[in-house]
């Protein structure tokens, strides 16, 4: 597994642990109420599990297994940018909600997430090719 995939997947596992913990606390509180404030964790629960876990895991695995040019994975810079922007975006969105930051921070977080997705697509696009085409390009 390449280094960037290790970062993507390990970060995804951390978000999974956090998202499951928040979800379990909210569900338990739904069964036997012990902290009404726990409902404030709902946006973070969704953000962590949808983007932090599922999307980030998909990025990590895609970076690892999409077709390569011999051993090369093409331009890795946009994929690294995707990693940083996605994580900054997720935390910005969550903290803006928790700490009642101005609405602009939430928008900025969403911009970071959207840019991350675009950056990853720019990286992955040329790798989505028939195997023959990959071999022909790499032998040039």
């Amino acid at each position: 597994m390449p280094r960037l995939s290790v970062w993507f997947v390990r970060a995804a596992l951390v978000y999974l642990a956090l998202g499951f913990t928040f979800g379990a606390l909210m569900l338990a509180n739904k069964g036997v109420s012990f902290g009404p404030w726990l409902w404030r964790l709902l946006p973070a629960h969704i953000e962590f599990l949808l983007f932090g876990w599922t999307l980030q895991l998909a990025f990590g695995v895609a970076f690892w297994i999409l077709p390569r040019w011999r051993t090369q994975r093409g331009n890795e810079k946009p994929a690294w940018a995707a990693f940083f922007l996605l994580n900054v975006g997720v935390w910005m969105v969550v903290l803006a909600g928790w700490l009642n930051w101005e609405a602009g921070w939430l928008t900025l977080g969403r911009v970071a997430e959207a840019t991350a997705v675009a950056a990853f697509a720019i990286h992955a696009w040329p790798r989505v090719k028939p195997l023959m085409e990959i071999n022909a390009t790499s032998s040039e």
């Binding site: 597994m1 390449p2 280094r3 290790v6 997947v9 390990r10 596992l13 999974l16 642990a17 499951f20 913990t21 979800g23 379990a24 606390l25 569900l27 338990a28 739904k30 069964g31 036997v32 599990l49 599922t54 895991l57």
Partner: protein
């Protein structure tokens, strides 16, 4: 494909069908008078899909395809993987039963069963993370 992966993937397919079935029920609400229990199914519908299908499929495929832990223990602890399966499914099924039941029944036990469901699913998530973390490594 190892036996535990087959278990995870086949079970996830059952949840996929079940989640769409529950979704169909929810879509019928404006058209047909349904029991009050159905009103409590919205979070169940979403979690049948995201936990029962998406999460369980990921767990099964990751167990199969992620880099090997070691020569002696290629896929980590098999017992822990099996524990993840049972904890996740018992927790989710308990939620499916107890969460909507809480709405229509005054029995306080439903609330505690929801707490158990939360604990079981949380443990499933943690056992998966613990068993998978060492396999996420560079060659």
């Amino acid at each position: 494909m190892p036996p535990i992966t087959r278990l995870f993937v086949k079970t996830s397919l059952v949840y996929l069908i079940a989640s769409f079935g529950v979704g169909l029920f929810l879509a019928l609400r404006p058209l047909v008078a349904l029991p009050a229990l159905v009103n409590g199914l919205a979070p169940v519908y979403f979690h049948l899909f995201m936990v029962g299908w998406v999460m369980q499929l990921i767990v099964g495929v990751a167990y199969w395809m992620f880099p090997k832990w070691s020569r002696e223990r290629p896929r980590g602890y098999d017992a822990l993987a099996l524990a993840t399966f049972w904890l996740l499914n018992l927790g989710l099924l308990l939620r499916v039963a107890a969460e909507p039941a809480q709405i229509v029944s005054a029995w306080p036990g439903w609330g505690w069963l929801v707490v158990c469901a939360a604990l079981l699913q949380w443990l499933a998530g943690m056992t998966f993370v613990v068993n998978t973390w060492p396999r996420v490594k560079e060659k």
